[in-house]
């Protein structure tokens, strides 16, 4: 059926919405608020898990359920809000409830091997500008015993509602139709790159029963203008559901002011891998470190704990790491008289000690080797890796500038008319060069990174200070409003394909940075000090979307170079997520097990039999 919403003019808004969703979820979580429920903030924010049919219930030897009665009947996960305030439309961002154990994720992505594995939905056919997606056999909704089968209508609803709210997957297709009981065919926006399409399916949950969203789907089919769609979007975003929904291994049971209880759904295909009855979300203190050390909960999806907590934790409290696929960056205001100048940005990049930033952040961060938007600088054991080089040619991996030469930075500044007197850099007009960096006040684990940058710049003779601003005001009034000289944000949207990172710089966040990519000029490839030349980023991005093989590598090379030289936002470091389990009552793999390298172990382990209650 035709999609009336595929006009290019809707792109900016849809991306803006996606960005806000991310800010509300991923970064806030990583900043210490990671007790947010998975999926609470929309598709991008949570985690869910599972395995493909062929790997479901792999039941590794160390964690098989075994015989006997489990010593506990509930797994406790923390929340910090009153669960009676939840409503059950996950697309309404006001107090939504949508838990990763209650709905299944479309697929699983292995960060270390960069491979995809289908779970709730498989890609049956791909190519010739189309893709056929199919729902896993045996999935049923929690509306009976068993409930209705999850079918093509529900998958269709998932993709349509994604388009209504303008999320990232919707940018890849132009038409959609049901092709069987459980299949849906998408007409893609050209010959979209397969890996890029699979990447887009990551971190999506199948949580849209047609019976509950039918009205929106039908109105979307009838919509003929962008205004109609905008109105539909607004309605959907404001609609609050009273009835819980789901198809995962745990179903909603009851809610009180301090606990939301889910019970095992016996009809889920992977229910046999689970040997306990309840998944409880218990309301606890906002002091997560204290909650952890007090062993008040059985697991946390992702919490960045202070070093002292990790070092002094009880023996039965286990922490494992996996790449978060993002890290901190320094976005510049491209309208600023100083930082709008590519050479000044390069000079600043030369002065910043990214290694010190990573060290001061903690042991679970690694500096970005060559700032160019390529993800893969840290592994699951907190060691630096060169996984990022897989995205570009070997030659380009060598050519990308490393920005470790303060002397070059000084030369660049002098060439632009800046002078250094009495240890202080002065602008061409004689005033002191300064760079205040705005940072959200509540994201205290971000602060060491930016304090280190401030320190580096002060030592170089550039006035700098970290300006902390209350988090909500920071995003709405400063970062998203482009009201800064230099600011702070993550440098990816937690997707590994270079396309999505470049799309963030040249599209999604461009307006926040007052950036006009169409006017961009960078030095020629391999000549960082060469004369600036115009580049057509938009055209390169369009080609990258539908390219494959050598052409894809070549285009990625070009865009990586452009990003490496123009640095609209300087990637500083890449970090790891920290997943926590208590092992007194639970069997889980050892922290160095490769099964942790998929977001997020807390959701995948129960489904695969890797998390089981100990038996008496």
């Amino acid at each position: 059926m035709p999609s009336p919403s595929k006009g290019s003019d809707s792109g900016a808004r849809r991306r803006f919405l996606s960005r806000r969703g991310l800010i509300r979820s991923g970064m806030a979580g990583a900043a210490g608020g990671s007790m947010l429920l998975a999926g609470c903030s929309g598709d991008g924010g949570g985690g869910d898990g599972g395995s493909t049919d062929d790997t479901a219930g792999d039941g590794s030897a160390d964690t098989t359920t075994g015989g006997g009665e489990p010593v506990v009947d509930s797994f406790v996960e923390p929340i910090t809000v009153n669960p009676t305030n939840y409503q059950y439309n996950h697309l309404n961002l006001t107090t939504p409830f949508s838990h990763a154990m209650q709905s299944d994720q479309l697929q699983r992505y292995f960060i270390d091997s960069e491979e995809f594995e289908s779970y709730a939905v498989s890609v049956e056919e791909f190519g010739e500008g189309s893709a056929v997606l199919k729902v896993r056999d045996g999935l049923t909704w929690h509306n009976g015993d068993p409930g209705d089968p999850v079918d093509a209508d529900d998958l269709y609803t998932k993709l349509v509602t994604d388009d209504i709210v303008s999320d990232s997957l919707s940018t890849l297709w132009t038409d959609i139709e049901r092709t069987g009981d459980r299949s849906v065919e998408l007409t893609l926006d050209g010959n979209v790159n397969r890996d890029l399409f699979r990447d887009a399916l990551n971190y999506y949950w199948l949580e849209t029963p047609y019976r509950m969203y039918r009205d929106y789907v039908e109105r979307w089919e009838d919509a003929s203008s962008e205004d109609t769609l905008a109105s539909l979007r607004e309605e959907l975003r404001n609609d609050a559901f009273e009835e819980p929904k789901g198809n995962g291994p745990f179903q909603f049971e009851e809610v009180t002011a301090n606990r939301l209880r889910m019970s095992k759904y016996e009809h889920h295909p992977d229910a046999d891998n689970i040997n306990w009855e309840y998944w409880d979300l218990e309301r606890v203190s906002t002091n997560t470190s204290s909650v952890l050390l007090g062993m008040e909960v059985d697991g946390i999806r992702n919490y960045t704990a202070p070093e002292s907590v990790r070092n002094d934790r009880p023996d039965a409290l286990q922490v494992a790491f996996l790449p978060a696929q993002w890290g901190h960056s320094l976005p510049f205001n491209m309208d600023d008289p100083d930082f709008g100048n590519i050479r000044v940005r390069q000079a600043i990049a030369e002065f910043i000690d990214r290694e010190a930033c990573a060290t001061n952040y903690g042991t679970f961060a690694a500096p970005v080797e060559a700032p160019s938007g390529l993800v893969g600088n840290i592994d699951g054991q907190n060691e630096p890796t060169d996984r990022w080089t897989n995205k570009v040619s070997d030659e380009m991996a060598q050519q990308l500038h490393r920005y470790r030469d303060p002397e070059r930075g000084r030369r660049l500044l002098r060439e632009e008319g800046y002078t250094k007197e009495d240890g202080q850099w002065l602008r061409p007009d004689g005033s002191r060069l300064s760079m205040p960096i705005k940072v959200p006040a509540g994201y205290t684990d971000w602060h060491p990174v930016y304090q280190t940058i401030v320190s580096n710049l002060k030592e170089e003779g550039i006035q700098s200070r970290m300006v902390t601003i209350e988090a909500t005001a920071y995003w709405s009034n400063h970062y998203l409003a482009g009201n800064f000289q230099a600011a702070s944000t993550g440098w990816t949207l937690q997707r590994t394909s270079p396309y999505y990172v470049f799309d963030m710089y040249y599209n999604i966040d461009a307006s926040f940075m007052n950036f006009e990519p169409s006017t961009l000029e960078v030095p020629p490839v391999g000549e960082p000090d060469g004369e600036l030349q115009s580049v057509d980023v938009e055209s390169l991005m369009s080609d990258l979307l539908v390219s494959s093989g050598e052409e894809n590598t070549d285009l990625t090379d070009q865009l990586a170079w452009i990003t490496n030289q123009s640095i609209p936002m300087l990637p500083i470091q890449e970090i790891n997520d920290q997943v926590w389990f208590t092992t007194d009552d639970w069997n889980v793999p050892a922290p160095d097990d490769p099964r942790y390298q998929s977001k997020w172990p807390l959701w995948w382990f129960p489904r695969n039999g890797n998390l089981t209650a100990k038996t008496a």
Partner: protein, 336 residues
């Protein structure tokens, strides 16, 4: 009637008829206005200790200011990342006597360089609230009538505003950076209670005989307020000034700790917050990072409390007279 007018009166006359030089007039003024309060303060251990503590912080602020400027010597280096090893304990290394934080910044540097902004903030808040309260309370109490009704209504409205939410709202809207502005916002409605109390005191003072005498003699209202009313409420005002200062310290630290106030300077509240969120309460290795700014806050507050407790004597004419070398006869009956 104020001490000052009765004392200076004869001296001025002496000078006029040549029995005292101008120098002696100045000396007597200095004795009365400066030395006597200092003697009075020094005679009480609380004021003495409180003054020394407050002075200590003023010296710290001066040290920070001199160290941060280009022309002065660097007595205490400005805090910077990598200044020392990360998380060195207190008293482990004399290069960083109070230890270092997670960035390797010297905690001594951070404490010292946070002091000027803290003092600005405290003084601004305390001055704003007490000056405004005194002005409104005195005028309202003395003038009465419509002026009193208007000012009392304004005061009552200010008293009914919920302080903390108002401060949070103002901080979010204005996003103040200047410590002085932050100090004023923190005491945005703290003046109202004091203004009410001062008004009550002035209502009783206005009918005293010496005030009536001034009125009968045709003294202008401003002079009556300045010479007859305000000096009598000053002990109360000063004690409240110090209490306001303490309130600003605790309020600012709490709001900085909660991340509500914007900041761009080193700050004890932010230090506390950083230490807390870095797990300082869970590990003895990091505890110094939490305890030292806490100690800085408590010590300053303690100093202000002691100073306030001793200040009443400063405004007691008999005690002042006892300590003034230039006043002899009047104090004789009261000497111990």
């Amino acid at each position: 009637m104020s001490e000052r007018s009765s004392t200076f009166g004869p001296a001025d006359e002496s000078a006029a008829d040549g029995s005292a030089t101008q120098w002696e007039v100045y000396r007597e003024w200095f004795d009365i206005a400066v030395l006597t309060p200092m003697r009075v303060a020094w005679s009480d251990w609380r004021t003495r200790l409180g003054s020394l503590i407050v002075l200590f912080y003023l010296v710290l602020a001066a040290v920070a200011w001199v160290s941060a400027t280009d022309w002065g010597p660097t007595i205490v280096a400005t805090p910077s990342s990598g200044q020392g090893p990360r998380l060195t304990g207190a008293f482990q290394d004399m290069a960083y006597p109070l230890g270092t934080n997670n960035l390797g910044e010297s905690i001594l540097s951070a404490i010292v360089h946070a002091t000027p902004a803290m003092i600005q903030l405290i003084v601004a808040g305390a001055v704003f609230s007490t000056v405004l309260a005194t002005l409104i309370g005195v005028v309202s109490g003395y003038k009465g009538g419509a002026v009193d009704r208007v000012l009392t209504t304004v005061t009552d409205i200010a008293m009914t505003l919920p302080g903390l939410p108002l401060i949070i709202l103002l901080a979010a809207i204005l996003e103040p950076r200047n410590p002085a502005v932050i100090g004023i916002i923190l005491t945005i409605n703290a003046w109202a209670g004091l203004a009410r109390a001062i008004r009550s005191q002035v209502l009783s003072l206005r009918d005293d005989s010496y005030v009536e005498a001034s009125r009968v003699m045709g003294a202008p209202v401003s002079r009556i307020l300045k010479d007859d009313i305000v000096p009598n409420v000053m002990p109360f005002v000063l004690i409240n000034f110090v209490n306001s200062a303490r309130g600003v310290i605790f309020g600012s630290v709490a709001l900085y700790f909660l991340g509500i106030l914007p900041s761009s300077n080193p700050n004890w509240g932010i230090m506390l917050n950083s230490a807390y969120t870095s797990g300082a309460i869970y590990s003895l290795d990091v505890l110094h990072w939490l305890l030292i700014p806490m100690f800085a806050i408590i010590l300053l507050s303690f100093g202000l409390v002691l100073f306030a407790q001793g200040t009443e004597k400063l405004f007691n004419p008999r005690i002042r007279a006892r300590h003034a070398e230039s006043i002899e006869d009047d104090t004789a009956p009261y000497q111990e």
